[in-house]
């Protein structure tokens, strides 16, 4: 925070009004936020069993299910087979969503691919910016998931379970590691709409804390209205008045504590202080006017335009401030029809922004400690659904970047038609295990007792860290 910004002034005014009535601990916390109440919250994992490569995660959720066949998984054979029946040997007895009971016809890739980077990795030609940083990216072409409909698939990707009520990965991670953010939430969610039509719903359970303590739930940062719900003072209440009220509340609570000796009171006091600090720190976070024109140009966004690119810039600002888990939803990847036009639109919306995020973090020396994951909730069929593709869970492409992940490599492969992952198959639990591993957490020892079980993000069936992609 710069001195003499309004928030600083209001904080001083607040202090001037209240310091005489406050106890020593609270006063210390107000004078120096990093000392007491607002010190970064520590997680339950006191000593990490593994070296910590990633201090934080930025998870780019491409909601709707991007087609791997038009983005990261080139399939010339599928182009050859375009219009021909899909070989039954592949599809027999397998799950289908909307194509159930219909004739299955091969549908060739709708966009040309191009080669990028030192290893000449082939990705869609509409993603040249991502191509320009492909040497920092590990592309996983053999990703799979269990679910084939949006809602369960989102739940599975976020919580490792298709049953509602489980904690999301961001909640798990802040529970384990705490947060380094002094006056911001440790788990933040941002959403952006695509310009297309298929904005599939998403649900707050995707960033829920489930059975973990509620403080680990993801806090949504919004581009319209209050950036955090109920953050703004009521009309007619200035920051100074708000500060005075908070101080009075805390003073009265402290006086009562002397009578009641309830440890919850001390916590309540600290939380009011934290809330008041958030009222200054969140607007400070959201205000990108101090970012140079160069940075805005790099991302290709205007301040506050609510775009995916603007959210990528906010993600970097959150990362700088110590937020542990930053999740960006970009919607409208559900291309049952018009996959060609749809992907072209999406590529435009995310290509430069992804590159900018990677480049920006790298310039600031933060990419080494920030894990970026780009993933949808499932992939799409090589079979046509009109001029689009149906949901598909046997193959999808995701990528990871930064924090000890090898760049410029491709991990795993699908069959010739892009129907199923066949080489180095990666499950959702494997992806989670790998993320936890980079954070210094041993996934199969990281649990919380729930309904008698040592519940884990990586499930009960066993998961493996994708060792082959680690630097």
């Amino acid at each position: 925070m710069h001195p003499n910004t309004p928030s600083e002034l209001s904080r001083r005014a607040f202090l001037g009004r209240t310091s005489h009535g406050l106890g020593a601990v609270a006063l210390a916390s107000l004078l120096s936020p990093s000392v007491a109440s607002a010190a970064p919250a520590r997680g339950v994992l006191q000593k990490l069993p593994l070296p910590q490569n990633a201090k934080r995660v930025i998870w780019l959720s491409m909601a709707g299910g991007p087609s791997h066949l038009e983005t990261f998984d080139p399939k010339p054979k599928l182009a050859e087979m375009h219009g021909k029946p899909m070989p039954e040997s592949l599809t027999k007895g397998q799950q289908l969503a909307q194509l159930r009971g219909q004739k299955l016809t091969c549908f060739g890739p709708q966009h040309a691919f191009a080669k990028f980077g030192k290893n000449q990795i082939e990705i869609c030609g509409l993603l040249p910016h991502i191509g320009s940083v492909i040497d920092d990216i590990c592309l996983i072409r053999s990703m799979t998931t269990d679910a084939i409909n949006h809602d369960p698939a989102h739940m599975f990707m976020n919580t490792g379970s298709q049953i509602a009520g489980r904690p999301s990965m961001g909640a798990w991670i802040t529970y384990g590691l705490g947060s380094e953010a002094a006056d911001l939430p440790g788990f933040v969610v941002l959403t952006s709409l695509g310009k297309g039509g298929q904005n599939q719903p998403i649900a707050a359970r995707q960033w829920s804390s489930g059975f973990l303590p509620s403080k680990h739930q993801g806090v949504q940062l919004r581009s319209k209205g209050d950036p955090v719900l109920y953050l703004t003072n009521p009309p007619g209440i200035t920051p100074k008045l708000q500060g005075g009220d908070v101080a009075a509340i805390n003073t009265l609570n402290r006086q009562r504590d002397a009578v009641l000796a309830d440890p919850e009171i001390a916590t309540r006091i600290a939380q009011y202080e934290m809330a008041f600090q958030m009222q200054a720190s969140v607007p400070d976070l959201m205000d990108v006017s101090a970012e140079g024109a160069k940075t805005l140009e790099l991302y290709g966004c205007q301040p506050g335009d609510g775009s995916f690119a603007a959210n990528c810039l906010l993600a970097r600002r959150l990362a700088e401030r110590g937020t542990r888990f930053i999740q960006l939803y970009h919607k409208d990847w559900d291309h049952h029809s018009g996959v060609k036009e749809g992907i072209a639109l999406k590529a435009q919306e995310i290509d430069r922004a992804c590159m900018a995020l990677i480049t920006d973090l790298k310039q600031r020396g933060m990419l080494d400690e920030t894990l970026i994951v780009w993933a949808g909730e499932f992939g799409r069929t090589p079979m046509s659904q009109g001029n689009g593709r149906d949901h598909h869970n046997k193959a999808m492409s995701v990528w990871m970047c930064g924090a000890g992940i090898q760049g410029g490599i491709v991990h795993g492969a699908t069959d010739d038609l892009g129907y199923a992952a066949v080489d180095e198959i990666v499950t959702v639990h494997d992806l989670h295990a790998t993320m936890l591993h980079q954070l210094g957490i041993q996934h199969d020892a990281f649990s919380f007792k729930f309904q008698g079980l040592d519940a884990k993000l990586t499930g009960v069936e066993g998961a493996k860290v994708i060792k082959g992609i680690l630097a």
């Binding site: 409909n149 809602d151 009520g165 959403t191 649900a203 209050d226 209440i237 916590t267 809330a275 008698g452």
Partner: protein
């Protein structure tokens, strides 16, 4: 992660800042000191089973598919057969050797399991074997035993004191009357007492003043509302379907049924049977069928591409988990894929329990029906008549339909032949927008061949033809329209509720590894968990009614304990067994098992009389103790498991709203009705789709209803409820978290509901108290806290008031802006600056820890 940390984080989720983390550390170490005393006589259920269950049963327990070395330790005979130990001879017991070895290969539990026995655990196992390695059946599967209580004593007090004597603690004195009435109102009504009620109670000199108060409270209709909150969590009551598009559905009459059941003190056995099988009861009625909405409260989907078999399986498993959670206190979810590892619940048990629900008629994918119409017998009779009339007129219409279709074809052919476009299109100016749209649609559809038209397109052409193209059979057609209109006029406003209808059964198979695509599993008949007492039914298949009756049979050892354990939490903040949703091996054997057993037995013996149990608990001296701990108590029993005092706790999300509205004088105390929509931040539902939705906050009385009536949108629960740990009710929730987070401060400070409550409260202070500022502060304190402010408090609040007055006198616009928050009118007689200033005082009061805490 150590067991201590896990335990602390699950049950003390409110310790979160470093400040309190420090407290936690110090308390935690004390707790540890308490735990380390190993009892001289080892008891299997209390001491040994938790160790074996947590560390060994995963590989040496009930689930054969995961069993290692063919050894099971949960059954004594099997353990002896495999020579796991020699009773009386720890030195010769393999078990003891294996848990103590330095050899990583041999060590149990194996290092890669990340499980580790503490020194204390090892010592307990050693002593247990030395003492003969006796087993006990798991405590909660044994019938509860009712301890004898000396005549004239309250059972709760007798058993709590017995236990206190054992652990060397003394009960605390009774709380003062103000605290007692506030506690009772919060626990039983969820509302604050009025200062007059407190004063009257404080003055009441009759020897049974407290007992009389309890009786008055039990008669209040707000009792049912308060009791409903916990039950609605446990049955996952919500207004929307849950998955994907999360659309509304009609279930609120069930919520009112729950409230009324508690108010009428419907016996808990009846309450249960109506929910599980209200449609199958011999005396089934509108009321019992409304209760059967329970079976429809699960998550459903309308997502395109969802597969019926998949969702059939999801719905079955959802229902099994619900019965396990609400009545049995058993975690059943894992048995969807394999036998339970810790409890005797098998995969067969799981699907057999699911098979009880296979007769329920419902769309597996897609929108649910409107539901049963709820109305007076007269309404229903009239509706039946109107339905019949509608049916008749429709039948008549069907008879003439072929002629109309022929006429339409002729009309279409004529249009084509004479190249006539639809007449209204040529006279656009004369038609309204809606009419023009219809015409355009019809015209576009007409351009297609009849066979190529979609259903909506066919309808568009037909509607156009019938409206503008022909007079043929007009009286008959008008009769249908009229009959429909009359019927809808009665039908539409009547409440509806999804209820259970029994019909042809779906086939239920055991799904190997829970995979719904695998149809190789055995077909299952309905059956009850094999390890629990079975009903005597022969010669026919079991039905849902059998299940319902079995749940509340006196032979069932689980239901009464589960319900009493949850009830206990409502009155003391923690269950007698602190894990409310699991009375199995991985739960906690209650430290005072005799007390839970006594409550369970008394509950059943009373004829499942819940008000009786509430009365027993609420009138006990144990309940009436002060909640402020002494240093000794904190040291010896930091989490108050022994009940030598009461416990303070922050009230539930809904009750915070109720308290604020009541104090503000805004509360509309109406019982029941459709769910309501309090103010909610704009755009909070932006991520909903199919269809997209705007949130229309209630504009009048609906705005001031109690929290439990809030519209429960599962995927985006109202954010101020969510901030205070209300569950989304996607899954059954026996236990709410009780967190203490910054968002709660933001809600109480800035949510328009609370800002409006503050200004309405301020208007009350100025309007109802005619004294000076000091007197008004005292009056306000009485309203919010039912006590007078002390000198320190006065010293804090008076300067605040003066500053606020000065600020708003200097800035009239700011006062104006503040007073505009919310819909409640601002009394014209009051000075705006003064009202704005007092709004701050009111706001401070509504935010106090004491205000939101039940102590």
């Amino acid at each position: 992660m150590s067991a201590e940390i896990r335990c602390a984080s699950r049950h003390n989720t409110t310790f979160m800042t470093p400040l309190s983390a420090f407290l936690l550390l110090s308390i935690g170490s004390l707790a540890h000191a308490v735990e380390t005393a190993i009892p001289a006589r080892i008891e299997f259920n209390r001491d040994v089973r938790p160790i074996l269950s947590d560390n060994c049963f995963s590989c040496h327990g009930n689930d054969p598919s995961h069993r290692k070395a063919k050894l099971r330790l949960d059954v004594r005979e099997d353990a002896l057969k495999r020579e796991a130990f020699v009773p009386g001879e720890p030195g010769k017991s393999t078990l003891i050797e294996r848990i103590n070895t330095q050899d990583g290969e041999d060590l149990m539990p194996p290092p890669d399991s990340h499980k580790k026995l503490t020194i204390r655990d090892k010592e307990i196992l050693k002593r247990w074997i030395a003492q003969g390695a006796e087993y006990q059946r798991h405590w909660s599967y044994e019938k509860p035993v009712k301890a004898a209580i000396p005549a004239g004593q309250n059972g709760v007090d007798a058993l709590v004191r017995q236990r206190l004597a054992q652990v060397g603690l003394k009960p605390s004195p009774e709380a003062d009357r103000r605290t007692l009435i506030r506690r009772l109102y919060s626990d039983l009504l969820g509302l604050p007492p009025k200062p007059e009620e407190v004063a009257a109670f404080v003055k009441d000199a009759s020897p049974d003043a407290y007992e009389q108060l309890v009786e008055r409270v039990l008669k209040s209709l707000h009792y049912g509302e308060r009791m409903a909150i916990g039950w609605l969590d446990v049955v996952r009551f919500a207004d929307t379907i849950g998955y994907h598009s999360d659309n509304p559905r009609n279930v609120w009459p069930y919520r009112d049924w729950v409230i009324k059941s508690f108010n009428d003190n419907k016996r808990f056995d009846r309450f249960t049977i109506e929910q599980v099988a209200g449609d199958l009861m011999p005396d089934a009625s509108q009321e019992t069928r409304t209760g059967s909405a329970f079976n429809r409260l699960l998550l459903t989907t309308r997502e395109g591409g969802a597969q019926p078999k998949d969702y059939e399986q999801r719905m079955l498993t959802d229902r099994v988990r619900a019965v396990g959670a609400a009545w049995l206190g058993q975690t059943t979810g894992c048995a969807q894929c394999h036998d339970h590892k810790f409890d005797p619940f098998t995969q067969r048990d799981f699907y057999a329990l699911g098979a009880f629900f296979a007769d329920i008629q419902e769309p597996i994918i897609g929108p649910p029906e409107d539901g049963m119409v709820i109305g007076s017998p007269e309404d229903l009779a009239r509706l039946a008549k109107l339905d019949a009339a509608l049916g008749q007129s429709k039948n008549k219409f069907e008879a003439i339909r072929p002629q109309l279709e022929a006429a339409q074809m002729q009309w279409e052919a004529d249009l084509k032949r004479y190249r006539v476009t639809l007449p209204e299109l040529r006279e656009e100016a004369k038609t309204g927008d809606a009419e023009l749209q219809k015409t355009k649609k019809a015209a576009a559809a007409l351009a297609k061949e009849p066979k190529a038209r979609s259903k909506p397109e066919q309808d568009a052409v037909r509607d156009y033809f019938l409206t503008h193209g022909t007079d043929l059979f007009k009286p008959e057609r008008d009769a249908v329209t009229k009959a429909q209109r009359e019927r809808d006029a009665l039908y539409t406003p009547l409440p509806k509720c999804l209820v259970t209808t029994s019909g042809s059964r779906r086939i239920v198979r055991i799904l190997p590894r829970g995979d719904w695509r695998n149809e190789s599993g055995e077909i299952m008949k309905a059956a009850l968990p094999h390890y629990l007492p079975q009903p005597k039914v022969e010669g026919r298949d079991l039905t849902r009614l059998d299940l319902a009756q079995w749940l509340v049979s006196k032979d069932n050892p689980l239901t009464a304990r589960t319900v009493m354990n949850r009830l206990w939490k409502q009155f003391f903040g923690t269950g007698l067994s602190k894990v409310l949703d699991d009375l199995g091996a991985q739960g906690e054997p209650p430290p005072n098992a005799a007390l839970l057993d006594w409550l369970a037995c008394e509950f059943m013996d009373s004829g499942w009389d819940l008000k009786h149990m509430v009365r027993v608990i609420a009138t006990s001296a144990t309940y009436r103790q002060v909640s402020t701990p002494t240093k000794e108590q904190l040291a010896a029993d930091p989490y108050n498991r022994e009940l030598a005092r009461q416990s303070p706790f922050r009230m539930e999300a809904e009750l915070l709203r109720d308290h604020a509205l009541a104090t503000a004088g805004l509360l509309v105390p109406k019982i029941g009705g459709p769910s309501v929509k309090p103010y909610q931040p704009d755009g909070y539902w932006d991520n909903l789709n199919f269809p997209t939705r705007t949130y229309d906050a209630d504009k009048s009385k609906g705005q001031y209803r109690r929290g439990l009536y809030t519209w429960w949108q599962r995927s985006f629960l109202h954010p101020s409820l969510l901030a205070f740990d209300a569950p989304s009710r996607e899954e059954c929730t026996a236990e709410r978290n009780r967190s203490n987070i910054p968002q709660q401060a933001l809600v109480l400070l800035n949510d328009p509901t609370y800002v409006e409550a503050a200004r309405a409260f301020a208007a009350r202070i100025l309007g109802e108290c005619k004294g000076d500022a000091t007197q008004r502060i005292q009056w306000a304190w009485q309203q919010a806290l039912q006590r007078a402010p002390d000198a320190d408090e006065m010293k804090t609040i008076q300067p605040l008031l003066n500053e606020r007055l000065a600020a708003y006198r200097a800035d009239a616009k700011a006062a104006e802006a503040l007073l505009k928050v919310g819909l409640a009118p601002v009394p014209a007689t009051l000075d705006k600056a003064e009202l704005a200033a007092w709004t701050h005082i009111a706001r401070v009061l509504l935010n106090l820890h004491e205000t939101i805490t039940r102590s």
